[in-house]
Symmetry: C2
Subunit: 206 residues, 2 copies
């Protein structure tokens, strides 16, 4: 399945959740597409990858489609996660309410700086990195959010691998080459700005 389709599932999910908050029960592929800047054909094609979710003359039932998308993405369950690195970015991410609402539960936080270890952020006490393997095992943590400096990322990622986490969301601007058993999604914020710059430049050329 193309990565782009999986990305769009997250977009659909967010839009459907907003529709439900505004008391919408159903939505047509045309309207859903318009909200996201996609054609209705694209919307139908994306969902057709996974099954038949629409109803003739009705469109999609929002709640049902939300449930289906969460099932497909694997976020119909709670994923215990850990924040690894609690500097500025890690602290901001700990305060980010979006994770919890989408099925992610940050249950542990780690750092090595003496003034950060032992502190409390958003109700979570920061443990020393040395205790990570034990805490991951004890709490059944599957995902790690890696928000450490670039020069520490590879070493810390190898600790995560040894501790048995299944996935790493990497905020450090470093490519992690981890064993195949561990999934990595990299978030490089400068890269996102580059994509924006490219879009602006292309628009200017038109």
């Amino acid at each position: 399945m193309p990565k782009a389709v999986v990305s769009r599932l997250s977009l659909y999910l967010r839009e459907l959740q907003a529709l439900v908050r505004d008391d919408n029960k159903t939505i047509s592929s045309t309207k859903l597409g318009r909200l996201l800047g996609l054609t209705d054909t694209q919307v139908r094609k994306d969902f057709a990858c996974f099954g038949q979710f629409g109803y003739p003359g009705i469109g999609y039932r929002c709640e049902e489609l939300i449930g289906e998308i969460r099932r497909i993405l694997g976020t119909d369950r709670i994923w215990p996660a850990a924040m690894v690195g609690c500097g500025n970015l890690g602290q901001a991410l700990l305060g980010y309410r979006g994770f919890q609402s989408q099925g992610f539960s940050v249950q542990a936080a780690f750092d090595i700086a003496p003034d950060i270890v032992g502190s409390n952020f958003c109700g979570l006490k920061v443990d020393h990195l040395d205790s990570l393997p034990a805490v991951v095992a004890e709490k059944g943590i599957q995902l790690a959010i890696l928000a450490v400096p670039a020069d520490a990322a590879i070493e810390v990622a190898s600790i995560l691998v040894k501790s048995g986490v299944s996935g790493v969301l990497n905020f450090a601007p470093v490519t992690l080459n981890l064993p195949k058993s561990v999934s990595v999604v990299g978030v490089d914020l400068a890269m996102e700005l580059e994509q924006l710059a490219f879009a602006v430049v292309k628009k200017g050329e038109k």
Copy 2:
């Protein structure tokens, strides 16, 4: 040009910059691909979209390819940018050194909270949102990084549009429908975690 290719340009750029830091002068498509988990065919095909950059028997000259990619992405110039919203996330982003090194210069910061306006973060004084149009005009700001709460994002984005910015990097979990003249790239951190969850689930099914 497919969006996925543009995303990969950022990945190549980052890897090439790391290679130069390690004193590499040239790199083959095979080695560059291996570093990023791509086939050499994919690497060559991606660059062929833009021109002929490789040398037979040598591969790519790292510095030259970095220059070409920056030119294509539009980051061979400095982009004056503004941080809009200086809560936890905005403050973390202001401390993020990656922006500057990739050609983005955050030259203004805005908020509305009385305890934040007037504060200094990473050498930048936070102005009140009311002064945004004047500051954007004065400093020639083209890009805005939107790190305000979800319920304020649409209103603040419309202020940005009226002020004449060309691009918005949106961290609020809201889809912004802005005029076609303004580019938007959305960063939804929960979406990134969803993509990771999906990758972990798929791996478990194999």
